[in-house]
């Protein structure tokens, strides 16, 4: 990764990208001074293509494509180690959330594709049942992701020990969750 293109001239970024990410995340990205503490402490940095501090720098430069096509914010486990240690008090997990939402909106959801599929399956599940119906979550996720056998070896033990129910939870408030999700989408479109 470089701030320069192959011909050696500096890449021009999208100046609105940094403003957009800061507004969505509600935290400052431009105050990052690249100390690298977030990357040093990140337990999943080994599985990322860009380090958290590199993502911050690319956001500052407005290099939107480079950031959004990265796997980093999908690999992030939201463990908050980075934000806890950031000397600039940047809410890095909120930045990762904003990047996930921006990437979803613009279709950058293929690398890796599992996390966005899991997130949308989870939220659909809440709209249907009000509470998490784990059997349906796993079933629908496995179908949508193509990982059909995922965790199926755990099912017999969990059923036997009463740790997973084949029946959905009964919540009268399930309609409320559907309404909340609908109203949230309307307000976000404004």
């Amino acid at each position: 990764m470089s701030d320069y293109d192959e011909a050696g001239s500096q890449k021009t970024g999208d100046p609105d990208f940094l403003d957009g990410i800061e507004s969505m995340s509600g935290t400052s990205v431009r105050t990052c001074y690249q100390c690298g503490k977030c990357s040093a402490g990140c337990p999943v940095a080994y599985a990322m293509d860009l380090l958290p501090s590199q993502v911050m720098r690319l956001c500052q430069l407005g290099l939107k494509e480079e950031v959004l096509s990265s796997s980093t914010f999908w690999v992030c486990a939201s463990c908050e180690t980075c934000a806890t240690r950031c000397p600039r008090e940047i809410e890095i997990v909120s930045v990762m959330d904003a990047l996930r939402q921006w990437a979803t909106r613009e279709g950058f959801v293929d690398r890796p594709r599992e996390v966005p599929i899991f997130v949308s399956t989870f939220i659909k599940n809440l709209g249907w049942f009000g509470r998490l119906y784990e059997a349906a979550l796993v079933g629908v996720y496995n179908l949508r992701s193509g990982h059909l056998a995922k965790d199926m070896d755990k099912a017999p033990e969990m059923l036997l020990k009463g740790k997973i129910s084949i029946w959905p939870p009964k919540v009268r408030g399930r309609g409320e969750v559907r309404n909340i999700i609908k109203r949230v989408r309307e307000i976000e479109k404004e």
Partner: protein, 291 residues
């Protein structure tokens, strides 16, 4: 103090024994809790990944229901629920614009003012009030416990407000109070991989493997946890972790409420210890605990 109890989805499924042991222990210590009627899911990690507004509105719905019960606060046993409920209050206090949108999405006002406690905080208060005195039935001396805090109980500290984000002590205090011995180890606040269990399982096998290996190295007989997802990654996936790392682990993972329940004289069956993947009985016996 009277609390509204927010069990969260896992306590009705994969963490059933956490619910059972929490209710038993709360009863013994005279902690008054009543379940929030018709509570809904807090949205957990997927909600904040998808939408900040949704991630604040779902917990706020539950906090409004709790307020109507006229209680002193909400108690949540799941670290993720606790984090989402507490974060909702924090975000609402932070931004009037967000508060306005949350109230519109809810269809009712909410000031972000219902206090949220983790079950451990409530237990610690009960210990401070001396409610454990004279109630210890089972001798746990000799039992070495690795207190595993994980992420969301202690981070970010501006929101959770526990004693120390890098070297917390409150779980170890409970361990000492019940006569067992907390071990010093390096992985008490390292991430287990959390919700990546579904999507990037190898990451969880690696991170949780490192935690289990360090607990083994520290000489602990058992790990104590206060989060259903941590429990599931460390216990339910431990056989997969053994295959992945090639290391024989066999370390039982107990909810802090189960350990407390044992000390209070309850049986392994009552506390749901038989629901674990790694059977804790042999390790407890090895430590000299009568179970």
């Amino acid at each position: 103090m009277k609390y509204a109890f927010y069990p969260g989805c896992s306590l009705d499924s994969s963490a059933r024994e956490y619910r059972e042991s929490t209710e038993i222990v709360a009863g013994d210590l005279g902690i008054e809790m009543e379940e929030i009627p018709e509570w809904i899911c807090c949205g957990s990690t997927p909600a904040h990944m998808a939408s900040k507004l949704l991630s604040v509105t779902l917990p706020a719905y539950n906090l409004v229901r709790a307020r109507a019960m006229g209680v002193d606060g909400v108690v949540a046993p799941c670290a993720s629920c606790y984090s989402r409920l507490k974060t909702a209050n924090y975000r609402i206090a932070q931004s009037d614009d967000l508060k306005d949108k949350v109230e519109r999405a809810l269809g009712e006002p909410y000031e972000g003012d219902v206090p949220v406690y983790h079950v451990l905080e409530v237990l610690a208060m009960a210990l401070d009030e001396g409610r454990l005195e004279g109630k210890l039935q089972t001798n746990l001396a000799g039992l070495k416990v690795a207190g595993y805090y994980g992420c969301l109980l202690v981070r970010p500290p501006e929101i959770t407000g526990f004693d120390d984000a890098e070297d917390p002590q409150f779980l170890d205090r409970v361990t000492r109070a019940i006569g067992a011995e907390p071990v010093e180890w390096r992985h008490k606040v390292e991430c287990c991989g959390a919700a990546l269990a579904f999507t990037q399982t190898d990451v969880v096998l690696k991170l949780s493997g490192e935690i289990l290996e360090d607990a083994q190295y520290s000489g602990a007989h058992v790990i104590s946890v206060a989060c259903p997802l941590c429990h599931s990654n460390l216990d339910l996936r431990q056989r997969d972790i053994e295959k992945y790392t090639g290391i024989n682990l066999e370390i039982p993972v107990l909810y802090v409420t189960e350990l407390l329940g044992l000390a209070l004289g309850h049986s392994a069956g009552e506390l749901g210890l038989k629901k674990h993947s790694i059977n804790p009985i042999p390790a407890l016996k090895r430590a000299g605990v009568k179970v």
